[in-house]
Symmetry: C4
Subunit: 229 residues, 4 copies
C-alpha cells in the first residue's frame, strides 16, 4: 500500500540529506495521500544512508500508525497540524539547515531581498511566536504546528510555503513531498544570500512589490511563463 | 545545424552547475553564431543533470525560435539585448550564484580590492539602476538587458565582462559561451573574497589603478604575457 | 587484544576526517576499556588516509604504552585526565574544527540559541580559563585536561559533552568513541549556526530553559522519546 | 633530469587544486634542486586537471629556461627572489586562496589567535608594503619578491613560512615543494578561523607568547615531540 507515496517521501528525505540540509538523523520529510487520509513520514532517529521505502511509517491524520514497524518522527504532530490546517499541502519537510536555522534562532524573518527569493516565496519568510512554557511541556510538537498555523492567519500557504519556528528551524511544504524538499533547499540558499546581503548592508531594502510579484508569478499561477508547457 | 555551438553552450551551462553557481534549474548560458545571426540557449526551467545538446533552443536575434522543440530560457530577451548592443560578445552566462547575488541584492558594486579581481575584470563590477514598475510589468526581461546596456555607457564590455542587476544577480559574458561561464565562476570567487575583505575592514581601499591595469593587461590585450603563446 | 575497541576508535578518527573536522594530521579520537583500564588513541602526527586499526596505540591510564609500535597522540595526557575525572566517559574526540575553534579563540562560550544545540548539549558550551605560563611550560597537555575538569565543577559531563579550550579548540566526549566523534560533528554544526545567529543579531537571546530541557530530554535520559526503542 | 623534483612539484601543484586553493589556472608551486641550482615550476596559465610532470618548466636561478617547451609561470621571478634570499627554502607555493587573500586585500596581518596557527606559523602572518607605481611598471614580479624579502628583515623564514602580499595574496614556502603546499593549505585554514574569530570578537587577544612557542616548538626544532621519531 502507498508504494508510490513511500517512494516519493523516501526521495524527498534523501534530497534533504544529499543537499547538506541534514546531518546524521536531523530533519524529516513526509507526504500525504489526501484520498486515503494517510501520511507517510521518516521514522524517528533514523539515519539517511540506509533508509528504505519500507522503513517509512504511515499514519492517519490523528497520528495513529497504520503501517510500518518503526516509530514515526517525533515531529509528526507538527506535520499533521499543517496537513489538517492547509488542505492544499501534499508534503512537508523540516530541517535544521544551517543558515535558515540561524535566522530562526535570531527570531528574524528573512526579508525578500532579491528575485531568487521571489521566484519561490512571495514575501518575507515568517517567524512564529515563541511557545509558552505550558505549550512546551504538553503537546510540544502539536503546539509547534499550531504556532505556524496561527502565524499564517491572512497568509496563503501556497504562496508562502515556508515558516521559521523561532529558536528552532524551518518547516517547508508544497503540493508534494518532493516540492516540499525542493522548497527547503531553496530556502537554505536564499537564507545564505540574505545573510550575506544584510551583513554587507544592514539597511538593504526589500524588493519592490512589483518586482517581487513579477518573479513569483513568472513561475506560479495562471500567468506563469517559466518552464515548459 | 549549430552542432559545435550547441556543444559549447551545453558545456558552459554544465560548468555553471558543476561549480555550484546554479542549483536545480537556476541560471542559463547562451552562445551566438555571429555569421548566422543565431543564438543557442538553455531551455526554460530545465534541470542540468539530464540536459543534452539537442535540448538547447536556437533563436534569431529577435527571439524567434528557429530550432528546438522546447521553450527558450525566459531570460532570453536579456541575452539578446546584450548581443545586439555589444557586437564583441560570443556568449552570455546568468546565474544567481550566492555571493555575487548578495552584492546585487545590496545594490553595491564589487570594488576591485585585489589582483584576483583585476586579473579578470578591469574595475569595480557595475550595478544597474532599478527598473521602474512600468519596465517590470512590460517586457521585463528586455528591460533588464537595456538596464545593463545603459549602465555600460562609457564602459568597454570586453574589459568589464560582468554586471550585477540590482536586486537580481550577475550577468557575465565573453568572446564565447565557455568564456562567459568562466567569468561567472571567477566573479563568484571574487565576490566571496571581497565580502570577507569588507567585513574584515569596511574601509578597505581599492587597488591602485597602476596595479589594477598591470594585472588586467598581464592577461588581456596585446601586451599580455600570461599563459602560453 | 582490544580488537573491537581499536576498530571503533579507528572509525571515530575517520569520522572526524570524513566530516571535514580535521585536515592532514589535525585532531585525534580515543576510546577506553573501563574493564581493562586501557585507552586506545590515534598515533601522533599520523595522517588519516592510511590509518589502520593496528596503528592505534594502547596505553594505561597513566599513559604507559602497552600495545603498538608508534608514539601516542601528544594530546594523550589531556584525554587521560578526562577519563580519570569523568568515569562515565567511553570516548574522547579533539579537533581544530574551524568554527568551534573560532569560538574557542574568541574565548566565548557558545550560547544555546536553538533546539539544534539543545538536542545534543544542555546549555552553553563552556570555555576553560587560560593556562598560566607555568602550566604551559610543564605538563602542558595534562594541565589542559585539568583546566577542563576544573571548568566542569558543578557540571554533569554527560549532559555537557564538550568543552572549548581557550585559544585552542574543542574537546568532546561521550559514552563511546563513536559518540564522542558524533558530538564533535554536531558541535561544529551548532558553532556555525551560532556564529551566523550572533552576527545577524548580536543580542540574540538564549533558548528559554523550558525549551532547552524539553529538547535535551526528548533525546536523553529516561523520558526520551526520540528514536526507536 | 630532475625526475623526482618534477614529480614532487607536480604533486604540490595538484595539492593546491585538490584542496580548493586554486581554481582554473590560478596559483603555482615550485621546487628547487640546490645542488643543481635549478628550479621546477608550473607552466604559465596551465590548468591543473591535465598537468603532467613533463609539462613543468625548469629554469636556473636567473630564470633562464633549461628544460621544457612551455613558458614558466609569470610569477617565476617572485619565486626566484625568495630562493635567492632564503637559502633554506626548498619549495614555494602561491595561491589566491579565498580567505587568506581577503586578509591580504584588507592589508591586515593575520594575528596568531590560537594554537592551530601556532602549530605551523610562529607569530602573525606578515603583510608586505604596497609596491610603488614604478615597482609595478618595471619588473613587477621581481619587485613582489623583493617586497616579501624586505618585509622579512629580522624574521626567520623557516619559523614564518608565509607572507601576504598586500592587495594580492599569500606566498608560502618550506623545506620542499610539498611542505610549501602543505603550509598554503594550513594558512587558508587559519585565515578562515581567524576571520570568524575577529568577526565574533574584534578585540580578540593574540595567543600568549608562551603558548605560541609551546605549540610551535612541539612540532618544530630539536625539542619537538609531535609525530613519530
Amino acid at each position: 500500500m502507498l508504494t508510490a507515496l513511500r517512494q516519493e517521501v523516501l526521495e524527498a528525505n534523501l534530497e534533504l540529506f544529499r543537499r547538506g540540509l541534514a546531518i546524521y538523523t536531523f530533519g524529516n520529510a513526509s507526504g500525504i495521500s489526501r484520498d486515503k487520509g494517510l501520511v507517510v513520514i521518516k521514522p524517528s532517529g533514523a539515519p539517511y544512508e540506509s533508509m528504505k521505502a519500507e522503513d517509512l511509517v504511515a499514519t492517519d491524520l490523528e497520528g495513529r500508525v497504520v503501517e510500518g514497524g518503526l516509530r514515526p518522527s517525533s515531529d509528526l504532530p507538527t506535520h499533521l497540524a499543517l496537513y489538517r490546517a492547509f488542505p492544499a499541502l501534499g508534503g512537508v519537510a523540516h530541517t535544521h539547515s544551517a543558515c535558515a536555522t540561524a535566522w530562526a534562532q535570531a527570531g528574524r524573518e528573512i526579508p525578500c531581498l532579491g528575485t531568487t527569493h521571489a521566484d519561490c516565496f512571495r514575501g518575507p519568510i515568517p517567524v512564529t511566536a515563541p511557545l509558552s512554557p505550558e505549550e512546551i511541556q504538553t503537546d510540544y510538537e502539536l503546539n509547534t504546528g499550531r504556532a505556524i498555523v496561527k502565524r499564517f492567519a491572512g497568509l496563503d500557504p501556497m504562496e508562502m510555503r515556508a515558516a521559521l519556528v523561532a529558536g528552532h528551524g524551518p518547516f517547508c511544504w508544497g503540493a508534494s513531498a518532493s516540492q516540499a524538499a525542493h522548497n527547503a533547499v531553496v530556502l537554505e540558499e536564499i537564507a545564505r544570500i540574505a545573510y550575506w546581503t544584510v551583513t554587507l548592508d544592514p539597511a538593504a531594502a526589500p524588493l519592490h512589490s512589483t518586482l517581487l510579484d513579477k518573479h513569483f508569478f513568472r513561475k506560479h499561477g495562471r500567468g506563469a511563463y517559466y518552464g515548459q508547457r
